[in-house]
């Protein structure tokens, strides 16, 4: 059976992105947490970046897997 490694990588990035985005949203109003990063909500920004990247990789991986399975049939 062919397994596209992009699927598990995409899952990992999506998971981390979700956790980071949720944490960023929850601590958005807390100025203490973001005094280090000059007031920017870095958790939210990078969480969204990772989320988008993860979903992109996951989609590409699923597409690759579908293609392989179609060739097999």
């Amino acid at each position: 059976m062919f397994y596209d490694p992009r699927i598990s990588l995409g899952m990992l990035f999506t998971l981390i992105g979700t956790v980071l985005t949720a944490f960023g949203l929850a601590t958005r109003s807390n100025a203490d947490v973001y005094s280090k990063s000059m007031g920017i909500d870095a958790n939210l920004c990078w969480g969204l970046v990772l989320l988008v990247f993860g979903i992109l990789v996951l989609t590409l991986g699923r597409r690759g897997q579908m293609k392989q399975e179609k060739i097999k049939k």
């Binding site: 980071l20 601590t27 973001y34 280090k36 990063s37």
Partner: protein, 236 residues
Amino acid sequence: MATPNMLLQFLPAGLLGLGLTALLACLMGGVAAGVTSFSTVFTCDIFQAFLAKNAADKRLLAVARWAAVGGMMLSFAAACAAMRFDSPLDAILLVFAVVNAPLFAALLLGAFWRRATGHGAFAGLIAGAAAALLHHGLSLPRGEQPGIQGGWITVLHHPSSDLALGLGTAMLAFLVSLLVAAAVSLFTNAAQAEELNGLVFSLTARPPAIWAWWKRPEAMAAAILLAAIAASLIFI
């Protein structure tokens, strides 16, 4: 130490954990690759090839495991030695100058000159590494103590810095290795053309270039070179 300090300075809680985890994972991956390749090379290319030719698999496995332990010990020692340099980059440069510069010369000669022989390459490697060690032992960067940073034989000249010493050592090692390998190759028997098929550039069949220009290695190499020059000009 720049990366961890930057992470601690600027990243908020949350992203900081992710950054440190990624950094540690990256370091662990590098160490794991180094340990595995050390133990494989020691077991297959040294132990099995010279010390115990008919060893059983069980013994080889034990040797590989202990070789990994020994490799870790060696790298501890190397790290302690590297701490005496002003920057780890200087230590890496020294290792590259002694080991990689002669290797590069032998590889280039073997790939592009069909008259090159194995004996010539080996002599070139030894001579290049010896010349590098000699140069390193005879010169000392300004304002340093004799020892691992150079001058452990006697001090004949003072390069302006560790970087200058390392680059000079590398160039000398490369030139000596190239010359010795070429000279010894001319005095040993040449290999037959059939044996070299696919190994030497002039004897390798090259398929016609059918790729688009942006898929060719030449275009990529030129792009990387231009990018490196541009980056040097920007950050000079």
